[in-house]
Symmetry: C2
Subunit: 137 residues, 2 copies
């Protein structure tokens, strides 16, 4: 078994487990963005969001929602950052959702969302059209 | 109507719409992290992830998954960054999921995931316990 997260789910590697359902497991990220940062993932091995079978979406995101509540309630957070890195920046290729407690003025903003701009409306439209075309495939 | 995203959904504000279903709309973020960055959101107004009614989770994340496919296929991306900012760093208080095309060596990594460490296993356990307790409420 070469997947670290499968090994954690099987009990063969240690983790601070916070949640277990039939389909989903949650445990602390050992390198948290902020302490209390949790990973939520399907028990079954699928690499990324696009690989998840449709029947897993609701069970997975219902637990993501539940953990978002718990992080707000239990860690006195003001908000949450909920995210998946798929392929790029994804350290373990077993699909997982990060639930990170956020506080106002927690210092993350500057790091976080570098933004660009479209040159003009026509350039934006070319990107929109490429996405629309791909949705038809 | 004071919500920008409700106004876009109603057709009262312009946007580059890429996807519309009965429950969900997708359009380009006008300040993209990378060009082709899409926002996916429920038509109905709910502020954050924890406010979403349970029956909306599957329709919303099914379209997030579909758009993740489309971004990979249509924009020659290697991966995706899928994220929600809830309350903190959330610019428009109408729950929305960012789907951002990523490429290897796209320069985002350094900005992106500042990480800390737990002092020791006992400290991690105290955080896990607070989350577990909150899940019982």
């Amino acid at each position: 078994m070469s997947c670290l997260f499968c090994a954690i789910i099987a009990g063969d590697e240690p983790a601070s487990i916070v949640l277990e359902t039939d389909d989903v497991v949650g445990f602390l990220d050992i390198r948290p963005v902020f302490k209390g940062h949790v990973l939520v993932l399907p028990r079954s091995h699928h690499e990324t969001l696009v690989d998840l079978p449709a029947p897993l979406l609701e069970p997975l995101f219902a637990q993501v929602q539940r953990l978002s509540h718990a992080v707000l309630d239990g860690l006195d957070a003001h908000g949450t950052f909920v995210a998946m890195n798929n392929v790029v920046s994804q350290s373990v290729p077993h699909a997982h959702v990060h639930v990170v407690p956020r506080r106002r003025k927690d210092g993350l903003r500057g790091f976080f969302w570098p933004r660009t701009r479209y040159e003009n409306a026509a350039e934006a439209e070319t990107f929109a059209e490429r996405v629309r075309d791909a949705l038809k495939r």
